[in-house]
């Protein structure tokens, strides 16, 4: 079902944990759908120095969290904003169709953490929108986890 890369990131997830004095923290997903992703970012001089995550979710959710944090470390905020759900999925050699929504979760949690950072520092990040409370809200029709 999962690519080798997904399984690698699931079995050996990178950057699991918390950042004590994080510059921004974002949590998305909900327990109803069985996926919650929490991302911690450490940002200095517009550059993401470190990223950590905690995830309650399926194999794809864990792997995309791991991959997203890996992709984002060392990037500027602007570069980080360009990380889309598709690029995360591609970096993992693809995801099963029913699991594509998980990569959306990774994108959204990054954005939520950046939004938190911007709010705390009272700055505006071009192109970043306020995260939805629950990214699944608009997906009800497609079934909870069958995006």
């Amino acid at each position: 079902m999962y690519s080798e890369k997904v399984m690698d990131h699931f079995m050996n997830p990178r950057n699991v944990g918390e950042i004590e004095d994080a510059s921004g923290v974002g949590t998305v997903g909900n327990a109803r759908c069985g996926d919650i992703m929490k991302v911690y970012l450490k940002i200095e001089d517009n550059i993401i120095k470190d990223a950590k995550f905690k995830t309650f979710g399926c194999g794809a959710a864990v792997a995309t969290s791991s991959m997203a944090t890996e992709l984002v470390i060392g990037k500027t905020i602007e570069e980080a904003l360009k990380i889309s759900n598709k690029s995360v999925a591609e970096a993992l050699d693809g995801l099963p169709p029913v699991k594509m929504h998980c990569s959306l979760l990774a994108e959204e949690s990054l954005h939520a953490a950046l939004w938190d950072y911007a709010k705390k520092n009272n700055i505006k990040i071009e192109g970043l929108e306020e995260p939805k409370e629950d990214i699944h809200e608009h997906e009800e029709e497609a079934g909870c986890c069958n995006a």
């Binding site: 699931f10 949590t27 759908c33 069985g34 929490k38 905690k54 995830t55 979710g57 399926c58 909870c144």
Partner: protein, 392 residues
């Protein structure tokens, strides 16, 4: 790596004896049982023998046994077939919230056609209350369908009581016994069962073959129209190897029945106790004693089911989270929700279902492997983080 298969509720390996019984019917005795010549008569006899074995196991007559392509078709046939012939009579069906999708989705389909369905609640251990069944009966009730035992949590329903109620009210009673066969002794006459579904692949028989027991004299519509097979009630060239395999499998499943059940029950309880003892924040889902001898379903807080399954798989343990059908989509289990579990707990359940091949060593292995896996997952769980912070 040792492969430990603990998902026997999803499907079971076909026994060697069963495969051997089937083999001649592929290449040698391959004739169409409806034909006149001798080659075909061998097959007809083989079908009759399988039918007889099955009838005997259920306390039924041979002419009450109809072969289908599996449990799902049997469930569809039972419900749609009764609905069809009951048109002038009524449009109300009573079922439970924790039936298999083969029942629930069929009922939902009928709901769209204008039928009225009562989905009975269950208690926190997954038990349907016979009194609720009685209270739900209306003048328009045409069918009561309650599963014999639940596929996810293993709870065994009070079928005899429900059968009695159905009989008193003269309402046909169907039970989906797909999970119960070979684990619980069934007597359709004593228990007043009018319709019963079973499926070969759940008791070490082949996939793609099942049975609908239809009580003699019960009026029911035909579901699959065509040739005159199954005495004109289920068309389609008979799956002879499948039928022979199902017959052999049920014969074997009924050998040393009590010993087998006792052995499984012991293993089951060891596994339940072992897990609950060694993993904090977890509990048994379903009834403690009115429970299939092979079913262990544990709610593990703060972890998500699929991840748990993948890690178990990496350790050579095949298990399931809720039913196999739903684990693809990972929608939370409707059964666990019906027990009153909140969503995050419904997502964090794991089901181990034992089989004849399951050993004490395998159970011990699972009890050994589970705690560190759960611990590891909790360490990366934001829910666990929250829990620890709020409980500090």
């Amino acid at each position: 790596m040792n492969k430990i298969y603990l998902d026997n509720a999803a499907t079971t390996p076909v026994k060697k004896e069963v495969v051997e019984a089937m083999l001649p019917y592929f290449t040698e005795n391959f004739g169409n049982p409806s034909s006149v010549y001798q080659l075909a008569q061998i097959n007809k006899k083989a079908i009759d023998e399988a039918r007889e074995t099955i009838a005997k196991c259920l306390g039924a007559n041979t002419n009450e046994i109809f072969f289908t392509s599996g449990g799902t078709e049997a469930d569809n046939w039972a419900i749609k077939g009764i609905a069809e012939v009951s048109k002038g009579k009524g449009n109300h069906i009573i079922t439970s919230k924790i039936e298999h999708h083969a029942i629930l989705h069929t009922c939902e389909y009928l709901e769209k056609q204008g039928y009225e369905i009562t989905y009975l609640d269950v208690d926190s251990e997954g038990m349907v209350n016979p009194e609720d069944v009685k209270r739900a009966i209306k003048d328009t009730t045409i069918l009561i369908t309650i599963m014999y035992a639940n596929n996810e949590i293993g709870t065994i329903m009070p079928i005899s009581e429900i059968g009695k109620i159905a009989k008193e009210h003269n309402i046909p009673f169907h039970t989906d016994a797909v999970q119960a066969i070979g684990q619980v002794k069934i007597d359709v006459k004593e228990q007043n069962i009018d319709l019963l579904s079973l499926s070969g692949h759940k008791f070490n028989g082949p996939k793609g073959i099942g049975v609908l027991y239809i009580k003699r004299g019960l009026k029911i519509g035909t579901f699959i129209h065509g040739g005159a097979q199954e005495r004109g009630r289920r068309a389609g060239t008979e799956n002879v190897p499948g039928i022979v395999g199902l017959g052999k499998a049920i014969e074997l499943a009924y050998e040393h029945f009590d010993d087998k059940v006792a052995r499984l029950t012991t293993l089951r309880d060891e596994l339940i106790e072992g897990l609950i003892r060694s993993i904090p924040y977890c509990k048994l889902n379903g009834h403690k004693t009115d429970r299939l001898p092979n079913n262990v379903n544990i709610g593990v807080e703060f972890v998500e089911g699929e991840s748990l399954l993948l890690l178990l798989d990496m350790n050579g343990i095949a298990a399931s989270s809720g039913s196999a059908c739903t684990s693809g989509s990972l929608d939370p289990s409707h059964v666990l929700l019906a027990l009153g579990l909140p969503h995050e707990k419904a997502h964090g359940s794991v089901r181990f279902t034992l089989g004849e091949q399951t050993t004490k060593e395998q159970i011990d292995f699972v009890i050994e492997k589970m705690p560190p896996i759960v611990q590891r997952m909790r360490e990366m769980s934001p829910l666990y983080e929250d829990f620890l912070k709020t409980n500090k």
